[in-house]
Symmetry: C2
Subunit: 239 residues, 2 copies
């Protein structure tokens, strides 16, 4: 079974085959989105949640002056808007940053799961807690790290998260985002994103050729980023 959600969950705790089957069967339909298409609109009230199976998606908000801030980046296996199950109203939109394939669960199904499968429920809860943990790490980075350190941190984080779902080759991964989109992730200008990436290249920490990011010197990158993967919760233990 290569369901990327299961890959993610099984890193954090044992999931029995029965549980896995129940979980997989909860998803009723698949959907495809083109790049730049809205998956969930701001202020909408979805009655289902979506799991990202393939591609990159982002949670975002547009401000009055037209600027956009992306508050989360999702990779395959991320249960993107599981929040909506209990929050009901979406304060932020979700956009496909690349072409995306998604799997859909009805909220009513999730509610039934929460009544009958306490361990699975805790694991889904955990999934949203890890989201929150990543948010906090981003807040720290935005508040107290300079552009180079933040970029290094972002590359480290994506490397680890993509590795969990087998989207990494050696020290490289595909990151099909434009510098303009990355600027919206960092809350920086496109120009400064460009110079920041060049700075990391010049130091020999990474290569970034088109879609492919290659980490040439992990130790240096992690040092620049002060990267510590605790917040990604990578240990398997009973939960």
């Amino acid at each position: 079974m290569n369901d990327p959600l299961l890959l993610q969950l099984r890193i954090r705790d044992k999931i029995s085959d029965e549980e896995a089957e129940i979980l997989v069967k909860s998803f009723t339909a698949q959907r495809y989105y083109a790049a730049d298409q809205d998956i969930v609109a701001q202020d909408s009230r979805p009655t289902s949640s979506q799991l990202l199976m393939e591609g990159f998606a982002g949670r975002y908000k547009i401000l009055a002056d037209g600027s956009r801030q992306i508050s989360a980046v999702h990779v395959p296996g991320d249960f993107m808007d599981l929040h909506g199950f209990l929050l009901k109203e979406m304060a932020h939109g979700v956009v496909a940053l690349t072409p995306c394939r998604l799997a859909l669960v009805e909220h009513s199904t999730l509610k039934r799961l929460s009544e009958t499968q306490p361990h699975l429920t805790r694991m889904l809860w955990l999934d949203t807690l890890i989201d929150g943990s990543i948010h906090r790490e981003w807040i720290v980075a935005m508040g107290r790290r300079d552009a180079v350190s933040r970029m290094a941190h972002f590359v480290c984080e994506l490397y680890v998260r993509l590795k969990l779902v087998n989207r990494v080759e050696e020290t490289s991964f595909r990151l099909p985002l434009t510098q303009s989109e990355i600027a919206d992730i960092f809350g920086m200008s496109l120009v400064h994103v460009n110079r920041t990436i060049q700075s990391l290249r010049r130091e020999g920490a990474i290569r970034w050729e088109g879609d492919m990011v290659t980490i040439d010197n992990w130790a240096q990158l992690a040092r620049l980023a002060e990267f510590d993967d605790t917040y990604l919760c990578l240990n398997s233990e009973p939960r």
Copy 2:
């Protein structure tokens, strides 16, 4: 019953008296912390979670250069480190920003709740989802708002959150934080926090005299902040 956690939960959904009793009885002990004391240490593995009953607390991380970033501010009724129940290891510390009173639940009790009380479990899950929602709003503010707008947003948010737990008088609330602590919340310098507050004062939007913050012109403050309370999830509905 004036338990501030129940006040918060009952804003979002009905909680039966039975459920309320079960919840209240889950807390076994109270603890008191002095200002600046660590409630939860970074990288620790607590076996209980704590509910903030009185005071202000903050989640934080210290970086290698000694700077501190506060990633969340907690008010009475916040179930501060409910995360720890499933995340196990704390990537961030929690500090008492003022003297604090806390109520304690063992993780084993929470696990039992999750096996027997699906609705309460969903409500606790929701509590952590609202935390995440606030994180995302902070990320947007840090990325794309200037200092005045962020300060205005922070004041609006605290006003609403404190009102939910009866810590507001008319248009005023106590905020016993130093400008230096606020600088660590904003990831700004103390000097700029000072000038930003003065700017809001000069515009007549707020007064900020010692501990007391008074909102003199909510409309103006909310406009500066582009404040929209959707992310605080203030509607009561079945969850």
